[in-house]
Symmetry: D2
C-alpha cells in the first residue's frame, strides 16, 4: 500500500546504504571513537560554518532529548516547552525520568509565543515562592514543530534573548530539521542555529538514516564528561560507526539538504493535490507534515488505499489526518493519492 504514514517507514536512503556497504568490513574502534564519526562531525562543522562546534551522535530522538536536556539542566531547573512539544506530550515521561519537570506553556500551531514566554519568566522571577518551585532553566523548541510549523528568525531570536537575560539555555529539537532548512518558508540556516542555540539536533532518522541524531553544541559547549552521561543513560552505541558512516554520507554532496528539499517539494505537491480536490488544509504547514480534515466515512474509505496517521477527532463526524512525505516519496505515490481522493466523492 502507498504510505504517507510517516517519514521513517522505509529504510535508508540509497546513498547512506551504499556507504554502510562500502565500509562494512573495516575494523573500527567502538563507542564513537571511529574515523567515520570524526569525519561526519567535521563535515557537520563545515556545514554549520563553525569550527568551534562540538558534534556528538546518538541513536534516537527521545533518547537524545533526554540525555542532552539532563546534561544542560542544573538540579533545580526544568525545561520550558509548548504543551504540544514532543518532550511534553509524546516521550512517555522521559524528561521526568531524568528527575526534571517539563514546564508547559500554551502552543500556537505548535510554537511557543515569545511574548507569553517572557511574561511567564518575569512572573516566575517575581514570585517570592520560587524556592518552592522548579526554575525554568532551558527552553525547548522543535523546528519544525510537531505540527510542521517553523519559527521565524525573529521569533527564535526573541526566545534566545529571553534565555540570555534569564540565564537559561536554548535547545532546538531538529528531528525534522532537513525539511525545515530547505522548504520555501524556512528562514533559519544551520549557521543561524549555531548563533542562536546552546544545543540543537540534526535528525537523521526522519531524513534517510536507519537511525541517528547528531547533536551540535556551538562554541565548544559540550557538557563535560558527556560520554559518561550518554553511557549512564544507556545511549552509547557500541558500533558507533553505524552513526558516523550514516552522517558522513548525509553530509557528503549535500545529501542532507537534497533530502530536505525533496521532502519539501513532495509536500508542496501534496498540498496542491488537496487544494485541487477542494480538501481544506487544517493548518498551513510549510514542511513535510500536512494535515487535512475529512469526514469520517471518507477517512474510512481512503484508508483502504493509502496509509496515513490519525491526528484527532474534531467533531462527531470529522477527523484530522496527517500525511507525511519522506526521502522515499515518489511521483507515483502522489499520483496514487490523487486517484484515491477522486474516489472519495
Amino acid at each position: 500500500m502507498v504510505s504517507f504514514e510517516n517519514d521513517y517507514n522505509t529504510g535508508a536512503h540509497p546513498e547512506v546504504l551504499r556507504s554502510l556497504l562500502k565500509t562494512n568490513g573495516e575494523a573500527q574502534t567502538g563507542y564513537g571513537a571511529d574515523r567515520w564519526c570524526a569525519a561526519a562531525a567535521e563535515k557537520i562543522r563545515m556545514a554549520c560554518q563553525s569550527p568551534e562546534a562540538d558534534v556528538e551522535f546518538l541513536v534516537g530522538g527521545t533518547q537524545t532529548n533526554a540525555v542532552v536536556i539532563a546534561s544542560l539542566l542544573r538540579d533545580w531547573e526544568g525545561a520550558v516547552a509548548a504543551e504540544t512539544g514532543h518532550i511534553a506530550a509524546h516521550e512517555a515521561g522521559a524528561i521526568e525520568y531524568t528527575g526534571h519537570k517539563v514546564l508547559t506553556l500554551p502552543q500556537h500551531e505548535g510554537k511557543l509565543d515569545p511574548g507569553e514566554l517572557g511574561a511567564f519568566l518575569a512572573a516566575f522571577h517575581g514570585d517570592d515562592n520560587r524556592e518552592h518551585m522548579v526554575w525554568p532553566g532551558l527552553v525547548y523548541v522543535s523546528h519544525p514543530t510537531e505540527f510542521g510549523t517553523l519559527y521565524t528568525k525573529g521569533e527564535l531570536s526573541a526566545i534566545r534573548d529571553l534565555c540570555r537575560n534569564y540565564g537559561m539555555r536554548l535547545y532546538l529539537d531538529g528531528a525534522r530539521l532537513a525539511c525545515g532548512l530547505m522548504c520555501r518558508e524556512g528562514e533559519l540556516s544551520l549557521p543561524d542555529l549555531v548563533e542562536t542555540c546552546d544545543a540543537f539536533t540534526i535528525g537523521g532518522t526522519k531524513c534517510g538514516a536507519l537511525c541517528g541524531e547528531a547533536v551540535v553544541f556551538p562554541r565548544h559547549g559540550r557538557p563535560p564528561h558527556f560520554i559518561n552521561a550518554v553511557k549512564k543513560r544507556g545511549a552509547l552505541l557500541a558500533k558507533g560507526r553505524l552513526l558516523g558512516v550514516q552522517f558522513d554520507a548525509l553530509f557528503t554532496d549535500d545529501l542532507y539538504f537534497r533530502i530536505g528539499a525533496h521532502e519539501a517539494e513532495a509536500a508542496e505537491k501534496l498540498k496542491g493535490i488537496f487544494r485541487e480536490k477542494g480538501i481544506p488544509l487544517w493548518l498551513d504547514s510549510p514542511t513535510n507534515q500536512q494535515f487535512v480534515e475529512l469526514e469520517d466515512r471518507q477517512v474510512e474509505k481512503l484508508k483502504e488505499k493509502i496509509a496515513f496517521s490519525f491526528w484527532e477527532k474534531t467533531d462527531e463526524r470529522h477527523t484530522v489526518i496527517r500525511f507525511v512525505t519522506g526521502w522515499s516519496t515518489t511521483a507515483e505515490d502522489l499520483e496514487a493519492l490523487r486517484s484515491a481522493l477522486d474516489e472519495l466523492r
Copy 2:
C-alpha cells in the same frame, strides 16, 4: 591492521546486510510493530522451543540491562551481581541511574558462586535491619562472563533455586551468548535458559548485527506496559525494523549459531597459537575472549602489528591483554597473529 580488539569492530555479517538491503524499500510501521520484528520474535521462540516466550528488541547492551532490570525490580529491591559483572563495573552507573542499587559479591573468574550467594541471601533475611537495606530482588549473571567463562548447568540451576526460594528473579545477560551456546564447553542451550531464567538476552551487536539485543521473557513474563518502560528510558527505536530485519536474518538458516561456532572455533585456534608459542593463558576461557600475560616490552612490540585490548597490569613488568574473535575473524588474521608473535622472541 589485523584486529582482535573486540567482536564489534566490524560491520554486519553479510547475510544480515543482505536482508537489510532486500527489505530497505518496504514501508513498515514504526516502533517495533513491523512484520520483521514479528517474524524474528517467532523464529526466536522456535529456537527456544517456547511458544510462550515474549521477545522484545532493543538497541544496546547497557540500555537493555537497565530497562529490563528496572522493569523486573520492585521499588525496594536491588540487583545482585559479581563485582566484575558488567552492570557493576562498566556501565557508568546505568543501573543506579534507574534508582536501584547493585549489590556485589566476589567474582570467581567472573562468576558468582552459588554457595556464597546462598550465604548472602540467608544472612540478609536473617538481619533485623533489613528495612534499612536494599532487598536483593534479582540475580544478574552474564554468560559468557566478562572473562569469557561459562556457568555450568548445575551452577545456573543452583542460582535459579535460590532465586525461587527467596522470591527473586534471575536475569542472564547474553551479550556474547552465541559463542557461549556453541563452544565445546557450553552446557546451556536456549531451551535451558527458558527453563531457568526470568529474562535473558540474545546479543546481536557482538554476533554480526550492526546493533541490537533480543530480550526473551519466558512464560509470557514480559513486564506489563513494557513499551512505555522502553520509551520512557529513551530506548524505543523509531525504525524498529532495523532490529527486526537483523534478528530475522540471524535466526534464519541457523546464522546465529553458525557465527557462535565460528567465533568459538577461531578462539580455539587462537589458544592453539598461544600454546604453540609458549605463551601462558592467564585464564582458561572457553569462549571468544582470550587473555594472555606478556612482558610489557612484548606488548609494545605486538601493538605495532596487531590490535588487541589492554586488560590489566599484573606487576611492574607484565600486562594481561585480551584477544577477541568475531564473525569477521579470518584464517589470515590468525596467521598474521602467529607471525607477529614469532617476532616477539
Copy 3:
C-alpha cells in the same frame, strides 16, 4: 506583630506539647516501632471507623506526597492534578524527582472538574499513541485545596468512580484536613475519605503539631515494603515517637477536630470583619485560608501592623493577599486586624 501569615508559624498546640513533655524520658524503639505510633494509628483507625486501615506517619507534606505517590504509581504512570495542585506548582519538582510526570488539568477555584477529568481520561484511552505517553495512574486532589475550597461529596464520588473505571488510584492531600472536616460547608468526614480514597493524609503540621503527616491507606492498602520506600527516600524518622506522641495527642479528646473547628470559626470571624469593612473576598473559601483584594497602597500600609501572605497581582494597582487562621489565632489577633483595617481608609 500579629500574624495571619500561615497556619504553621507558631509551635505546637499546648496539649501536643504536654504529651511530648510527659513522654520525653521513656526509652522507645526507633523508626516508628514505638508504642506511641501504634497508639496513634489505632486512634486514627477509630476516628476513621475503619479497623482495616493502615496508618503511617511521615514528617512533612511534600515528602509525604512524593513517597506515597511514588509508591502508588507504576512505572509507566503519572499523577493527574489541577494545575494549581501543590504537587504541580509548589513542590520544586519533587514528584518528577521520583521519575513520574504530573499531568495537569485546569483548576476551578483550585479544584479538578470531574467532567473535564472524565473527558481527559476518555481521550487518553482513545489515543493510539498512548504507548508513547504517560498513563494517568492516580488522581491527586487537595482537600481543602490551595485556595481553601472543598470538594463536595458528589464531586469526590464522581472522581472516585472515574478512578475505578480506569484502574487508577485516588489520593487526597489533607494537609489542612482538620479545617475541611469541621467547617460548616464541609461535606466529607473521615469515614467518607476511607470509603472514597486509596490513600489520604491527615495533616499535623498545619493543625498544631511541630511536624508530621499521617497517611491512611484504607482496606489494608499500604504498599508492600512501605518502610523501605520511606527509608530509601530519606523520610524515615529515627525518633519516630516524635510523630507518634503528637498524633496520639491530636486524636485524644478530639483535639484534632477541636483545632479544625477553631480554625474554621476564626476564619468565619475573619470573613465577618472583611465584610463589615466592605473589603470584597476574592474567592469564597469556606476554610481557614481567606483571600481579599486590596489596593497596593493599602497592602503596604496594612503590612506595618499585620503579617499575611502575598498571593498575586491582579492589575497595576491591586493585589490579592491571603490570611490564614491557625490553632493559635486568638480573639485579640482578630481585633488587631479589625483596627488595622480601620486605619486603611
Copy 4:
C-alpha cells in the same frame, strides 16, 4: 527496662525541651527563614571558628546524606565509602535513588584506609575505560564510624589530600560527632573539620535533639540553590524553627559538647564494667558505641533485663551485641547493667 539500645531512644535533652517550650508561642516565618535558625547557624559558625561557613538544617541523617551528596556530586560521579559506611549499607539505597553509585572499598574497623583509597584512585585514573565507569567524585567518611571508631588527624588529612589531588570533595557524616569530639582519643575539633572537609554534619538526633542534623559547608561552599535541592527531595521542614530552636539550645552554654562528654564518660564506665566482668570487647571503640561478644545463652538471659542491639553472629554459639550510651544514660542504668551481668555467670 534499662536501655542501651541506641542514643536516640529517649526524647530531647531537658535544655533543648526548655527552649522549645519557651519559644513555642512565637510566630516565626517558615522553611528555615526564622530567627532561631539564623541564631543557631551563627553559634555553629562561632564554634567552628569560621565566619565563612554556610550552615543548613535538615531533619534526618539518611535524608541529609542523600541531599548533600547529590548536591555535591556531578552527573558522572559517585561517592566512595567503606563497605560498612552508612550510605553503603543501611540507607536502603537512598544514594542510588539520587541516581549515583556508591563505590565501596574495604573497611578497617569501619574506616577507609588512605593507602587503599589512593591505590583505588590511581587505578581508576589509569584505566582507559573510565568513560564507561562511575567517576569517584566524593569521599564519604563517618566520624565516629558505624563501629564507633575515629579517624586520626593524619588519616583525615591524607584523605583530604587525595581528594584535592583528584578533584574530589570530602564529606564527613557526623551523626555521632559530639562524642567523637569529646572522647579522650578524639583528635579532631570542629575547626579541624572546617579546614579538612567540603561538607560535614553535626548530628542532633543522636545528641539530645528530637530530630535534626546541621550541615556545615566551609568557605561559603553551600551548593547554589540549595533550598530548591532540599525541597525537591522532600526534606524542607515547614516549621523550620523546630530545628533552629533545638540547635540554638545545643550550641548554647556548650550543651552539645557537654552531651558528647557525657556520652563518652558513660561509655568509659561501660567499658570498665565489661573489663571488670571479664567480658572481652569485640572492638576497641573510643566512643559511645561498645561491642562485646557473648555466648548466645548469655545474650538471651541478658535480654530479659537490658535492652541492647544485636550486631552479628560470630559463630554457632556466639553473638556480638552493641551497647550505646546517650544523653539520658544514668549512673543507675550502668549499675543495672552491672547487676545483670553478674547474673550471667
